[in-house]
C-alpha cells in the first residue's frame, strides 16, 4: 500500500498535454527517483501534489485526497518540498529562512506575538533549537547569520533542502536538489538524503538528473517522457530497459558530458 499515490493524473495547459494519465506511488521509508528528459512533466507532478496546479485524476496521501486543497493546507498536512531554484527569502539569513518553515508548528496568538509574552518567547526558543539542529546537521551553522541572497547557489540549494526538513515533513518532494552543486557538494547531499530517508522513514520523491546519485541511493525509479510513465522499478532494472534508454539516456549522456566539462574545471580531477 502506498502512502502517497497518484492515479491517472492528467494535466493540460491549453491544448498541451503536460501529464497523460500518470500513476505512481511511494511507500514510507522509500526513496523514489523521478527521472525523465527536460519537459517530461516531473516538476508538474510536484506542483500537482503540492496544490499549485489543478489536475484531474486522483492524488491521495494516507487515504486523504489532495485534489482541490490549497497549497498551504497541503503543506500543513506535512507535504514538504524543495524548489529547483531554491526560492529562499534573499533578505533573510539562513536561520530565518529555515524558521519560516516552522510556520505551522508555531501556535502563539497574535497578541502573544505582539507583546512577546513568555509563552511566545518560550515557543520561539524551542523551535529555534530545532532550526539550529538542522543547520548543524547540514554543516550550515557558520553561514547561518548571513543573508542568503549573497550565498553561492549550491549553498542556497542545501539551505532549501534544510528548510524542507525543518518543517518535519511526512512526505518530502525534492526538485533537482543536486542541480548547481559541485561534485563534492553532491556527494554530501546524497549522504544527507540517504540519512534523512533512514531517520525519518517517510516517503520521498526525488527529481534528479544525476544518474550516478540515483543508481547509488534510490530504492526505485519512475521514468517520465512527454508526460507519460514509461518505466517503474528498481534502478538496475529500469536503467537497462530499452524504452527508457531510447527515450532518456541520450539526454543523460549529454548531461554527463556537460558534467565532464565542468567538473575538472572545479575539481582538477575527473569525477568518480
Amino acid at each position: 500500500m502506498y502512502d502517497l499515490e497518484l492515479k491517472d493524473v492528467e494535466l493540460h495547459f491549453g491544448g498541451l498535454v503536460v501529464l497523460n494519465r500518470v500513476s505512481l506511488g511511494v511507500r514510507s521509508g522509500e526513496l523514489l527517483a523521478l527521472i525523465g528528459p527536460n519537459g517530461a512533466g516531473k516538476t508538474s507532478i510536484f506542483n500537482c501534489i503540492s496544490g499549485l496546479y489543478r489536475p484531474s485524476g486522483q492524488i491521495h496521501f494516507l487515504g486523504t485526497s489532495l485534489i482541490g486543497k490549497k497549497p498551504s493546507a497541503i503543506a500543513e498536512m506535512g507535504i514538504g518540498r524543495t524548489f529547483q531554484h531554491a526560492e529562499l527569502i534573499p533578505r533573510m539569513n539562513a536561520r530565518e529562512n529555515l524558521f519560516v518553515a516552522r510556520h505551522n508548528h508555531l501556535k502563539a496568538t497574535l497578541a502573544e506575538q505582539w507583546f512577546r509574552l513568555p509563552s511566545a518567547r518560550r515557543e520561539e526558543a524551542e523551535h529555534l533549537a530545532v532550526v539550529n539542529d538542522v543547520l548543524e546537521m547540514l554543516s550550515l551553522t557558520h553561514l547561518a547569520h548571513l543573508p542568503v541572497g549573497g550565498l553561492p547557489f549550491g549553498i542556497q540549494k542545501i539551505i532549501g533542502f534544510g528548510r524542507a526538513l525543518v518543517a518535519e515533513p511526512k512526505v518530502l518532494l525534492m526538485d533537482e536538489p543536486s542541480a548547481g552543486l559541485t561534485q563534492e557538494e553532491r556527494e554530501e547531499l546524497a549522504y544527507h538524503i540517504d540519512a534523512a530517508k533512514k531517520q525519518l522513514g517517510i516517503p520521498m520523491l526525488w527529481i534528479e538528473h544525476d544518474m550516478e546519485m540515483v543508481a547509488a541511493i534510490a530504492d526505485r525509479i519512475h521514468v517520465l517522457d512527454y508526460g507519460r510513465s514509461i518505466g517503474d522499478g528498481p534502478p538496475d532494472e529500469v536503467l537497462d530497459n530499452p524504452e527508457v534508454v531510447r527515450a532518456y539516456l541520450g539526454t543523460t549522456q549529454l548531461t554527463q558530458a556537460g558534467a565532464d566539462v565542468t567538473a575538472p574545471r572545479e575539481e582538477g580531477v575527473t569525477p568518480v
Binding site: 527569502i89 519560516v100 502563539a108 547569520h145
Partner: protein, 351 residues
C-alpha cells in the same frame, strides 16, 4: 554566530541571544535616556517638532510593515490617518467621548477599512494595487468632507485636549512624553511581530508568494492581516494627530501626505523598522530645513507658497537621490558607518 560552540547543546541559542541583547540594550538604553532628558533643554518649538516626528514615526512604522516587510504598496496612508482623525473627531463632537473610546474606535475603524481595501491585494500587485488604495484615500476624504458640510463644521472639528486619568494632556512636555511612549510601544510591538511567525510569513510572501504558500503560509490571510494591523496603527496615528492639533479637517490629509510617508520608508530604508523612524525624522525636518535655507539665502521672497513648493521640489529630489544612490536608505548609510568602526567579528546581521 557563536553557535559553533555547541558543546552545551540546547543552552546555546538562549545564551547567545542574551549576550547579543545586552550589547544592543546598551545602545537602546542610551537612546531612551537621551530622549527622556531631551526636553530639559528644549524650546516649545523643538518639542513641537519632536512631537510631530513621533506621530509621523507611528504612521511610518505602519507603512514600513505593510510595504517594506509584507511588500504591499499603498497610497491610502493619508486616507487611513484621516479615518482615525475623523472617527475621533466625530465621536468627540457627537457624543463627547473620551480617549478610552475614541482611540480604540479609531483603531477598529482603520482595521475595518484596511480589511476592505486589502481585498484587492489578493488579485492586484504593484502599481495596480497602489491605484486601488488610492480609491480608499478619496473615499475617506469625500466622506469626511461630507460630514464637515452636513454638520455645519465646514472649517473642521475642534477637539479639546484629551484627559488621561484626570490629567489634561495640553502642554508640549506632556505631549512629548506621551507620544514618545506611544511611538516606542508601537516600535516594540512591530519588532516583536517581525521576530515571530507573522513577520516571517510576511517576509516569505513578499519574496515569493508561491513558495510561501507551499511552505504552509496562508498567503491571502496574511496579506489581509498586514492590511488590518497596519491600517489600525495608521488610523491610530491619525487620531493622535487630531488630538495634538486640537482640530480635524480634510485639508490636512492630502495625497501629498501619503507620498511623504512613502518618502519616509524609502529614505529610511525599505524593510527596516529603525529606518521608518529615521525616515520620519528626516521627512519631518525637510520643510524646516528648506525654510531655514531660504532664509539664509538672500534675494528669495519668503512666503508660505514658495517655502511649500520648495519643499515639494526638495522631496522629489531627495527621493530620486535615495532611490538612485542609496536604495537601502539611511539605514544602509548607518550600517556602513557602524561597519567601518566596529571590529569585523562584532558585526551581526540580525534585524
Amino acid at each position: 554566530m557563536s553557535n559553533i560552540e555547541t558543546g552545551i547543546g540546547k543552552m546555546t541559542p538562549a545564551t547567545t541571544r542574551r549576550k547579543r541583547l545586552s550589547q544592543n540594550q546598551v545602545a537602546w538604553i542610551g537612546l531612551i535616556v537621551l530622549l527622556v532628558l531631551l526636553p530639559t533643554s528644549a524650546t516649545p518649538f523643538h518639542l513641537d517638532i519632536a512631537s510631530q516626528i513621533f506621530i509621523a514615526g507611528i504612521g511610518a512604522l505602519a507603512l514600513m510593515v505593510l510595504t517594506g516587510i509584507a511588500g504591499q504598496i499603498s497610497l491610502g496612508h493619508s486616507g487611513l490617518m484621516a479615518a482615525g482623525a475623523f472617527t475621533t473627531g466625530i465621536l468627540y463632537k457627537e457624543a463627547g467621548a473620551g480617549i478610552w473610546i475614541t482611540l480604540p474606535a479609531s483603531v477598529v475603524a482603520g482595521a475595518v477599512i484596511g480589511l476592505i481595501f486589502g481585498l484587492p491585494s489578493l488579485r492586484l500587485r504593484g502599481i495596480y494595487l497602489a491605484m486601488s488604495t488610492l480609491a480608499l484615500h478619496f473615499l475617506v476624504i469625500y466622506l469626511g468632507g461630507e460630514y464637515e458640510f452636513a454638520s455645519g463644521a465646514s472649517t473642521g472639528i475642534f477637539l479639546d485636549p484629551p484627559v488621561v486619568f484626570g490629567f489634561e494632556i495640553y502642554d508640549g512636555y506632556a505631549w512629548y512624553y506621551v507620544l514618545l511612549a506611544l511611538v516606542a510601544g508601537t516600535y516594540w510591538g512591530c519588532r516583536n511581530l517581525l521576530n515571530s511567525k507573522t513577520g516571517r510569513a510576511w517576509e516569505a510572501l513578499h519574496a515569493n508568494e508561491t513558495a510561501a504558500e507551499a511552505l504552509g503560509v496562508q498567503v491571502a490571510n496574511y496579506k489581509l492581516l498586514a492590511f488590518v494591523i497596519t491600517s489600525g496603527i495608521a488610523s491610530f496615528s491619525g487620531a493622535l494627530f487630531a488630538y495634538y492639533q486640537n482640530f480635524v479637517s480634510v485639508e490636512a490629509f492630502t495625497l501629498f501626505l501619503s507620498i511623504q510617508y512613502i518618502a519616509m520608508i524609502i529614505i529610511g530604508g525599505m524593510g527596516s523598522l529603525p529606518g521608518a523612524l529615521l525616515g520620519a525624522v528626516f521627512v519631518t525636518l525637510v520643510p524646516y530645513f528648506v525654510e531655514w535655507l531660504m532664509e539664509a539665502v538672500p534675494y528669495i521672497g519668503l512666503d508660505i507658497t514658495t517655502v511649500s513648493s520648495a519643499s515639494y521640489a526638495a522631496f522629489g529630489l531627495l527621493m530620486i537621490l535615495f532611490l538612485v544612490f542609496e536604495p537601502s536608505g539611511l539605514t544602509g548609510i548607518w550600517k556602513r558607518l557602524v561597519g567601518q568602526f566596529a571590529s569585523p567579528s562584532k558585526r551581526e546581521d540580525t534585524p
